[in-house]
C-alpha cells in the first residue's frame, strides 16, 4: 500500500483542481468511475438521513 501523502504534496492546477484525483479517476474504467460516484452519493445520502433522524429526536 502507498504511504499517505502530505496535503502539501497534492498536485493542484492553477484553478485548484485536484489533479491527483483526476489521474486516479482516469486510471479506472468508465463503469468503475460511475460505481465509485454512486457509492459516494449513497453514503452521503445515508449520512444525511441519519443526521436528520438524529435532529428530529432532539426536537422536543
Amino acid at each position: 500500500m502507498k504511504a499517505a501523502r502530505h496535503p502539501a504534496e497534492i498536485d493542484y492546477d492553477e484553478n485548484g483542481v485536484d489533479l491527483d484525483k483526476l489521474r486516479y479517476n482516469l486510471s479506472l474504467t468508465p463503469e468503475q468511475r460511475i460505481v465509485r460516484m454512486q457509492e459516494s452519493i449513497r453514503s452521503m445520502m445515508e449520512f444525511k438521513h441519519e443526521a436528520e433522524r438524529a435532529r428530529s429526536k432532539e426536537t422536543p
Binding site: 484553478n15 485548484g16 483542481v17 489533479l19 482516469l26 468508465p30 460511475i34 460516484m37
Partner: protein
C-alpha cells in the same frame, strides 16, 4: 418523498429497452469522462421527434416517475416540451435538457458524442468539448467548477490542445 437511489444501470436499461435516442450529458457524463465532482441526478438530451419522446416516456414510466419528487405521473410524448423537465424515478432524479447550447443542437451533440459500452449497454456520452459548452453558459458556481475540471481533464487526455 422517496429517497434518491441513483442507479445509472437501471436508467440505461430502461432507455435501452425502449430504444430511446439520447445522449448522457451533465455531471454524470463528466464522471464517465473521469470527473470527480459529486452529482445527484442524471441529465439527458433527447431527440425531440414525437416517436422518440414517446419511447422516452415509456422508458421513464418503467421507473415510476414522480413530478417535483412527490406527484406520480404517467408520461407521454408531450412530457418533455419544456426547456428543462425533471422527474424523480426509481433510478434517481432524471432531468431532460432541451435547450442545448452546442453547435448543431441535438444532432451535433449526438454526432460528436463518445460511444461506449457501460453495464453491457451501448450508450452515447456527450464529448468533453460539448459538456464544456453546456456548462459554461451557466453562472452557477457548481457549473463553473465543472468547467475548470473539464479543462483539466482535456489537458490531461489531449495535452496538445
Amino acid at each position: 418523498m422517496k429517497p434518491s437511489a441513483l442507479d445509472l444501470k437501471k436508467l440505461l436499461e430502461a432507455l435501452s429497452k425502449e430504444e430511446v435516442d439520447y445522449v448522457l450529458v451533465g455531471g454524470m457524463a463528466l464522471v464517465v469522462h473521469g470527473g470527480d465532482l459529486a452529482t445527484t441526478d442524471f441529465d439527458l438530451a433527447l431527440a425531440l421527434d414525437e416517436h422518440n419522446t414517446a419511447k422516452a416516456a415509456r422508458a421513464l414510466n418503467l421507473l415510476h416517475p414522480l413530478l417535483r419528487g412527490v406527484v406520480p405521473v404517467e408520461l407521454d410524448s408531450k412530457a418533455f416540451a419544456g426547456e428543462f423537465v425533471g422527474f424523480l424515478t426509481d433510478a434517481g432524479a432524471v432531468d431532460v435538457i432541451n435547450r442545448l447550447s452546442v453547435d448543431g443542437g441535438y444532432q451535433g451533440l449526438r454526432e460528436r458524442a463518445v460511444r461506449m459500452k457501460l453495464f453491457g449497454l451501448e450508450i452515447q456520452v456527450a464529448s468533453l468539448t460539448d459538456l464544456r459548452s453546456l456548462k459554461s453558459r451557466s453562472s452557477r458556481s457548481k457549473d463553473l467548477e465543472h468547467v475548470r475540471e473539464i479543462d483539466a481533464i482535456i489537458r490531461m487526455v489531449s495535452p496538445e490542445e
